[in-house]
Symmetry: C2
Subunit: 384 residues, 2 copies
Amino acid sequence: MRKPRLMTPGPAMVPEDVLLELARPVIHHRSDEAKQVIVEVAEGLKEVFQTQNDVMILTSSGTGAMEAAVVNTVPKGAKALVLNAGHFAARWANICKVYGVNVVTVDTEWGQPVDPDKVAAALKEHPDAVAVFGTLSETSTGTGHPIEAIGRVVAQTPALFVVDGISGVGAMECHPDKWGIDILCAGSQKALMLPPGLAFISVSSKGWAQIDSFEAPAFYFNLKAARTKAHEFDTPYTPAHTLILALRTSLRRIRAEGIANVWKRHKAMSEACQAGVKALGLELFSASPAEGLTAFRVPEGLKDSQIRGRMTERFGVATVGGQAKLKGKIVRIGHMGYTDELDVVSALAALEMTLAELGVDVEPGAAVAAAQRVFMSQTATAGK
Amino acid sequence: MRKPRLMTPGPAMVPEDVLLELARPVIHHRSDEAKQVIVEVAEGLKEVFQTQNDVMILTSSGTGAMEAAVVNTVPKGAKALVLNAGHFAARWANICKVYGVNVVTVDTEWGQPVDPDKVAAALKEHPDAVAVFGTLSETSTGTGHPIEAIGRVVAQTPALFVVDGISGVGAMECHPDKWGIDILCAGSQKALMLPPGLAFISVSSKGWAQIDSFEAPAFYFNLKAARTKAHEFDTPYTPAHTLILALRTSLRRIRAEGIANVWKRHKAMSEACQAGVKALGLELFSASPAEGLTAFRVPEGLKDSQIRGRMTERFGVATVGGQAKLKGKIVRIGHMGYTDELDVVSALAALEMTLAELGVDVEPGAAVAAAQRVFMSQTATAGK
């Protein structure tokens, strides 16, 4: 027997009580009962997003929210900066191109954090940029970007700051209203502890002013329509209401734990996973690791599929490899949402045993011990 | 105790074994296991759609598939005909307008079927129309349109025939490949017996030729990207995989029943519901009723909310009222997907008792008896 442990950086594991909500009979999405669910999740989403602005619900992948963010803010032919530092950051540029946006990329080596000074310089050079598209947690490289510092830079300009928080929101501390984030996107299948199928998007008043200034070429992803319906605790089209019902339960869990504690748990899991990986002599890929996942380089002489395949086959631990130009070069372990300290310990133990089997000279228990030390130091701090 | 009976024309009821699939732990959408699920549902969808073409899966409402159908086929400024005969047909025109399509509407009174001769005349007058947008089952009026005859007309022209089959596919006989339907859209929450959250779209070779002739201004709803991934039994972005898993089970149910029998069941339920409604002295709204729902006019002196409210409160039977200009004027009873003869009998019995309570002079049992006669005549025919 192998117990499945979905340690991929999204989708992540879903709590049993949330899964059981999904098995409840469907209700009509325009009923009072359905509306009451949306009233509650609207409040809960504001708490997770840490915003006073509305958080709108879209039935789509996170990519749908990214497309909504682009098409509703940047008119055709207008200029936008894309903080291009990974596969998902590049998606911002790809979406912009489809809509005829004049894209200027601010390029950063994959695995490095975006430098706020470079953003400031780019904005100086392109004062006509309507928006700056960035990423809180770049899932393809496992990098957390200094969104607070970048936000401070963008806030001083007329440009909007639009952030892909798909694998970041709920895993990494983020205060859009204080940090100058105008639009923040998230997906259901990451720290929000749901299956994929819903996306979320918040918009600041600066964001709405821009959105209201022109007619966006969008119907399904039209944010004006979404806003009107959100004010009625409704959605413009038939939503994936079963997922919204389940969202209510996952948001209740987050509220019970407290969002600050949720962030702290992710930070601890992230530090522990990094410590464990380093204790095995492996090299972290990112110079500034995100808190929802850990990416490490595949050791010389091994294939990522050997490591990942054996971890799944022998121990049921699912991870992912690299994307695009990182294909075959890194392994990514997710630790977000419904994941706890012992899940991280388990994944490291599986990695350790797998590497030993593959002939790598690892000291048994080293990774686990390194992770444990991180967790114990956290407890010690908490006890003071 | 009231047992909930979701007799709305979408979402419709979901079988227990399908609901339980939704409660299964999430798997990674790029895993072999996930791919195997898509291999099976791709086959099953072709059977339900009765097409040899690929049926692509989108994570969105049915409206997302409609938007994909518009934006991928009609370039900005090009002309399209919309067979405007209800609230959802009007949505075709609304989507077209967002994308700068030159819309010509062929208007039909709500509740009447579209006249194929009028379509032929319109195509003669507008030989430059790139596409004709129609509806198999107009959910807002409960009308089934003569799609086969219209398809024959459109097939003789260079225009594509694009059909909203959201509440039609799986409930009404439809043969896109034989009938000249180039693009057919469906949603998960109707006859496919799932919660909302997935949309499906098939494209003919004539359709692909048009799609391949220009660059559509779409990223998330780009059908070329969807086609490429469909050929790999994959999806371009993270799909609502839990719903796809559940879809496998609902498609197995449809295969076990046989699609011809599924259509027959819907036809019988539709005829029985119409007979029951008429036996109560109520007036059907549509001159050509669709097979997945029955719409009747609210009797003089009553409010739709009285009838619908009491049916739900006392008997747990959920129905819907009218939309847009039919608000307050009709009641719609859905009988699609996971709905059987006795569900129709139950809804009619609830309606009968509700009307009696509200002071309408109805003969107790008349509606139920009328429905039973329809069902018994079907059995008699089947026995011969």
